[in-house]
């Protein structure tokens, strides 16, 4: 009797987590569209000044020329400056402050949260009391004081925003560390002689990243809003344009030339919305509890 030919077995390859997350992200149409829009805004901020080389501080035409007329796509502001150029140049500042402030919140927050969650005990007590102290500070007021005292330079504004918003990241990081440190693979790494540093940053942190990534993406959006708020109040570097500053400087003319305030407002709104949607998509993609299989 001859042995019948067996069908070649099909092996189901498990997907790499990254591939899987990307597949999940792609299912969220709004997030993908927002990501595309965000990419466009970023490119605009980087290459825009080269493609549209008009000085945002130069008075190019009569003040309050409405959008579309006289050859200016977005019109001119109360000093006759080209609004389109201001929006393009302001994008760079807004995005830069958003990203670097978010980066700062992540660095402070992750360090504090990791140390507190890993070492527990007295270290945790002290660090979490400090975190709570920053949490109950009136954020806008505190950062206004910082900027007013130390001058309204971009690094100072970034610092002022970062220092009041890292607490959320710290708390998330700590809670993830508290959960993961009890898992068996951490004990197993310890049993194979891993040092505390290695356990914290090579074993626990990579596994704690998903919620931290989501939170820091959302942080970029709130930092942009924060910066807009500060510059609306005039606490901004007068030598650079930012979206909030355009609104702030034109606010007296809101009834006569509403568009000078509306246009930068829409820019902020669209950008922050896009960031939130991307953050939401990341949350779907990275948070296993929300995954529907």
């Amino acid at each position: 009797m001859t042995r019948p030919e067996l069908q070649e077995e099909e092996t189901l390859q498990a997907q790499h987590p990254f591939t899987e997350s990307w597949a999940m992200f792609r299912k969220n149409t709004a997030a993908v569209a927002a990501l595309a829009l965000l990419t466009l805004i970023t490119f605009g901020a980087i290459f825009g000044p080269m493609l549209y080389p008009v000085d945002p501080f130069e008075m190019v035409w009569a003040p309050f020329s409405p959008p579309g007329e006289e050859g200016f796509l977005l019109g001119t502001d109360y000093l006759g400056r080209d609004l389109l150029s201001m929006i393009i140049n302001g994008a760079k500042v807004s995005l830069m402050i958003g990203v670097s402030a978010a980066l700062m919140t992540v660095i402070i927050g992750v360090t504090v949260g990791a140390l507190a969650g890993f070492y527990r005990g007295i270290v945790e007590e002290i660090l979490m009391r400090i975190t709570e102290f920053f949490q109950v500070l009136p954020t806008l007021l505190f950062s206004m004081v910082l900027v007013a005292l130390f001058g309204a330079s971009l690094p100072m504004i970034t610092f002022a925003i970062g220092i009041v918003s890292w607490t959320a990241v710290a708390r998330i990081t700590r809670s993830e560390f508290l959960r993961i440190r009890e898992l068996e693979y951490v004990t197993a790494s310890r049993a194979s002689g891993a040092s505390n540093m290695k356990l914290m940053f090579r074993v626990i942190l990579p596994n704690a990243l998903p919620p931290i990534i989501v939170q820091s993406a959302l942080m970029v959006g709130s930092a942009i809003l924060f910066e807009a708020g500060l510059s609306f109040l005039g606490l901004t570097d007068p030598n650079v344009v930012s979206w909030g500053q355009i609104i702030g400087s034109n606010r007296q003319y809101i009834l006569d030339a509403g568009y000078t305030v509306t246009i930068p407002g829409v820019a902020i709104f669209v950008t922050v919305l896009a960031i939130s949607l991307v953050g939401d998509g990341l949350n779907d993609a990275l948070n296993p509890k929300l995954r529907q299989r």
Binding site: Q13, A14, H16, P17, R120, G121, L183, E184, Y185, T187, A188, S189, R190, A191, S192, G193, A194, S195, K198, R202, V203, P206, N207
Partner: protein, 328 residues
């Protein structure tokens, strides 16, 4: 000759809501180089606690070594600093855990995890560590080790992960390998393979093995000596064949009778499996000055409730903590 590992009067206390309970109560044993010693007992008898204590990995703030010594090559691990322990862990003493599914870091490839141990302890270069990793994966019989080294744990089956764990544990040629129920989470067919592998690797490397298991069959096959634990105390200790042949403690007797024998002919003559009635006492009962097995024992007498049994030594190196050991 000095034993490789000498545990003297080890007592471990666990802080619970009801107070402090001695989960390991006055345990002494020794392990010689190249020997396999097996810990047997029901869940909650302190077997895993013993293993964690040897590694210095008792859960912080909950468990602590109240008294006793753990002498590894003459050095007392109870007194050792964190840095000293770290040097020993994974290098001289390493451990395999029960759950291969959860004891590998999910975000690193298994190759990276093994190479990391090698680099930490032996100071190998990235390249040398990687080559050694592949050799190790080959030694634990993972097919296509070169390809599989780049796999993440979730891409492997339970048996393969346990093999990877074994490779990691053996990476630095440890003197002692602690295997905490290495096959409990695996399929029967895979269990046999893992035990085979452990046996072969032991012959090749000469590592002493502490095998913690429920599986009496594995004990009989793998170990030279065994310790039966009950409620944090040693019930019986001695050479495996002799204990299985003639258990001197009623608990050991019960455990051996629990093991089913496969019979080719199913007939009415087949005897029923004997069970040990009752359950392990709760932590509150631990530490009482009486025999803790008394409530489940068919040889119960006044003496058992009056005081904790002293070890009864026998000529064949067997010893049992039971007042009736000589009558059994």
């Amino acid at each position: 000759m000095r034993p490789l590992l000498d545990v003297q009067n080890l007592t471990i206390e666990l802080t619970t809501r009801d107070g402090v309970a001695p989960v390991i109560d006055d345990l002494s044993f020794s392990l010689n180089a190249g020997e396999t010693l097996s810990f047997v007992g029901e869940s909650g008898c302190g077997k895993s606690m013993t293993a964690l204590a040897l590694m210095g990995l008792l859960p912080a703030n909950i468990g602590r070594i109240a008294s006793g010594h753990i002498l590894f090559e003459g050095e007392d691990l109870v007194q050792a600093s964190d840095a000293q322990l770290r040097k020993i862990r994974g290098n001289d003493i390493s451990m395999i855990f029960q759950e291969p599914m959860t004891s590998l870091n999910p975000v690193l490839t298994i190759g990276e995890q093994i190479a990391e141990v090698l680099r930490a302890h032996q100071g190998l270069s990235r390249k040398a560590a990687w080559n050694q990793t592949i050799a190790l994966l080959d030694a634990v019989r993972i097919p296509n080790p070169k390809g599989r080294a780049g796999d993440y744990p979730f891409q492997m089956s339970g048996g393969q992960r346990q093999r990877a764990m074994i490779a990691m544990a053996l990476a630095c040629a440890p003197k002692i390998l602690i295997a905490d129920e290495p096959t409990t989470a695996l399929d029967v067919t895979v269990q046999a393979q893992i035990f085979d592998l452990l046996g072969d690797l032991r012959k090749q490397t000469g590592a002493a093995i502490i095998l913690i298991t429920h599986d009496m069959g594995a004990v009989a096959e793998m170990a030279e000596r065994m310790i039966v634990m009950y409620a944090g105390r040693k019930a019986e200790l001695g050479p495996v064949d002799q204990i299985i042949d003639h258990p001197r403690h009623p608990y050991t007797k019960g455990l051996i009778e629990c093991v089913p024998h496969i019979q080719s002919e199913m007939s009415t003559a087949r005897h029923d499996l004997v069970e040990v009635p009752g359950i392990v006492p709760s932590l509150r009962e631990f530490g009482k000055d009486q025999c803790l097995f008394a409530s489940r024992c068919r040889y119960l007498s006044e003496a058992c409730l009056a005081s904790r049994p002293k070890p009864q030594e026998f000529a064949n190196a067997q010893s049992a903590d039971c007042w009736h050991a000589r009558d059994l």
